[in-house]
Assembly symmetry: C2
Homo-oligomer: 184 residues x 2
């Protein structure tokens, strides 16, 4: 089993014009990414947001599906959303994993743009297989802030298909990247 | 380029208890799957629903993003949602592709359950490379009706990760399956 964590970052991310913003939490991000995380054996799915109302919203959604009416209605959804941990910043996410693992996780930034230092899926898959904790970072809105990407230990190459089109949803990108890095 | 089409089926699909139902259209299914389809060079993304109000809703969403205010706001979203074709039944989808291609497409059913006759991704990827039209079928709600699966030309093996958990969203499953079958 890979020792992998996922963080969905809501700050700092960029908007359409490149300004740094704090984005809103999207309900289906929580569902889709937690279900993919559960499928691929991810140890924790962190939702990073510093907005108080968004923290409360996320708590309410998670509670509904893990201990509320949703848990009875759909137990498989419950076992996915149980992976969600809410933290106020990426630093708090890294600290939390560090405490659990007794070693800091290596961070892996994802981005639709290609960086010169980007690492291939094949290489990253091999690196992850060392059993040490790795944290995959996904940006909401128009993606992670450039500074956050550059501060990560590694940058993953973008997901590309047969075309030059590179506008996957974060839900699709996270699913494909987990399949490529830690799929069978 | 692969000669591939995608259909998102809203009838006949099953609900939680296995009854055959017509499901409602989910806005983010249209966005996420059309963006993945566009990324992987899919030639058409068919939304199959026989419910009049759902047909109207789908038309309105597509119109907003392809010729309405959404098209100006986000041109890349427009070029994805342009792939959407709305049909009343799976038979209409197959006919429409048949007319365009002058040959019936081979249909490939997807399902979270494993069938004895299921084909591996590696084998299906090789089969698709023959350049003939293939139509991938995705079920909404709790998945395609068993009869629809059995009537398809091929059944694809389920997407599995490191765990026994097999409850991906249709958005995640479609993204991963396109990446596995027609990714670079």
């Amino acid at each position: 089993m890979p020792n992998i964590y996922v963080a969905l970052v809501h700050y700092p991310v960029v908007n359409k014009t490149g300004d740094i913003i704090a984005s809103a939490v999207t309900n289906l991000d929580l569902h889709d990414i937690s279900r993919a995380a559960r499928t691929y054996g991810v140890k924790g799915f962190y939702v990073a947001t510093r907005l108080i109302d968004q923290i409360e919203l996320t708590k309410r959604i998670v509670k509904h599906w893990t201990s509320g009416a949703g848990a009875d209605y759909n137990p498989s959804r419950s076992s996915a959303l149980e992976l969600i941990r809410i933290k106020k910043s990426l630093e708090d996410v890294v600290s939390h994993i560090g405490e659990q693992e007794s070693v800091w996780p290596k961070t892996i930034a994802t981005c639709a743009r290609k960086f010169d230092t980007a690492i291939s899926y094949e290489k990253m898959r091999a690196m992850i297989s060392n059993g040490k904790p790795h944290l995959l970072l996904f940006g909401t809105a128009w993606g992670l802030a450039e500074e956050t990407i550059r501060q990560a230990d590694y940058i993953l190459e973008p997901v590309t298909g047969h075309t030059a089109y590179n506008h996957l949803s974060v839900r699709s990108a996270a699913s494909i990247i987990l399949d490529r890095l830690v799929g069978r």
